[in-house]
Symmetry: C2
Subunit: 217 residues, 2 copies
């Protein structure tokens, strides 16, 4: 096999645009894999997802993945390497704070588990849901955050609280020892040394979409 995964050099991290394209390659390759296709070229992936074949080859070489001349990439092996690289094959225990409709949905969303995110505990302050479970995940009062964070060894905190609570709950999660915050609120959280902040800006995406529709009509 000429394909191989090199050690990724953490001092030279892989650029975010590359990381963001890898899930596209993975979804294409997973589809081929489910159809028992054995080999795929970067040109064939390119046709499916509308990214330059040379860009695909370059992105994959960042990950130390090389195709064979005239044959391309072995599909099953490529699928595994992409999932490994993305961290989807590892389990990442996470806490979620703010069990409203979005928070509850994320806890119940079995899709996230297939991408390595394992929400192991939910937190809120509403008496009516504390002590309950959602899809087997227990909901506790936020005062238990710090002790449960430690015993569950969760490094990720998912933030789905109302905007006005976002920064103070983020601070609580950081004090409790969280290493990464996945922020679904429209608030821009203050950066904190050693803590990764990942925003999923559903409302900003909506605004950009509305704006683009108006621009076209």
């Amino acid at each position: 096999m000429m394909e191989q995964i090199g050690m990724t050099d953490r001092k030279n991290p892989i650029p975010e645009p590359t990381v963001r394209r890898i899930p596209w390659y993975l979804s294409c390759v997973s589809y081929l894999s489910s159809r028992n296709v054995e080999f795929v070229s970067s040109t064939a992936i390119s046709r499916e997802i509308n990214v330059d074949a040379s860009q695909i080859a370059k992105d994959l070489s960042y990950l130390g993945i090389k195709g064979k001349t005239r044959i391309g990439y072995e599909v099953k092996s490529l699928e595994k390497k992409l999932r490994d690289f993305l961290g989807f094959n590892r389990r990442h225990p996470a806490l979620l704070v703010g069990v409203g409709s979005l928070g509850g949905a994320l806890i119940a969303d079995s899709g996230l588990q297939r991408y390595g995110l394992d929400i192991v505990a939910g937190f809120d302050v509403k008496p009516e849901i504390i002590g309950k479970t959602i899809s087997g995940v227990p909901i506790s009062h936020i005062s238990a955050l710090s002790s449960l964070r430690e015993s569950l060894k969760a490094e990720i905190g998912v933030l789905t609280v109302p905007s006005e609570e976002a920064q103070s709950v983020a601070n609580q999660l950081i004090r409790a020892g969280i290493k990464a915050l996945w922020n679904f609120t429209p608030i821009r959280l203050r950066p904190h040394e050693g803590v990764v902040i990942q925003n999923t800006s559903i409302y900003a995406d909506l605004a950009v979409m509305y704006n683009s529709i108006d621009g076209k009509s």
Copy 2:
């Protein structure tokens, strides 16, 4: 009043980075508004959300909003203008296809309505949910997509189907007359003339977050 909203020139659309910052300003200003604060300066907003005050003033002037010297912006009026600009004050009827756990959650998420997105119908192929309602929204078989799209005058299609169905369902939505697709799948959809495609890449965000955590540890 020196403040005013100019007509935004659609031939020179407002840059996406500006559009993406406006929700941060809005969340800050809404908080002040709920606290009955009357005026706010760009410097004060800057302290809260960690964006340069000059950038804030520039972004707001793109929208034709000017503050008064030494007084700043009138909070209630600024809040309304930002919500108007973002389209959160208008109702945008939308269809959702793929009523799994994420799709069902988005239908049930009353938060989206506060941001102007009104999901008026859900579609799926699973017999056990067709004919049911979620939070009052009826779920129909996908074969009814085209006729319901027209009678409901929905311009937005929310895509929460499994990856392997994403492109074909997107094509169906486009044939049914949808003007914008909000894509939650990890698939990169093929562009289509006159149709806005807005991706909310939850799984790519997860991958970037995992990667950043590994890079720091």
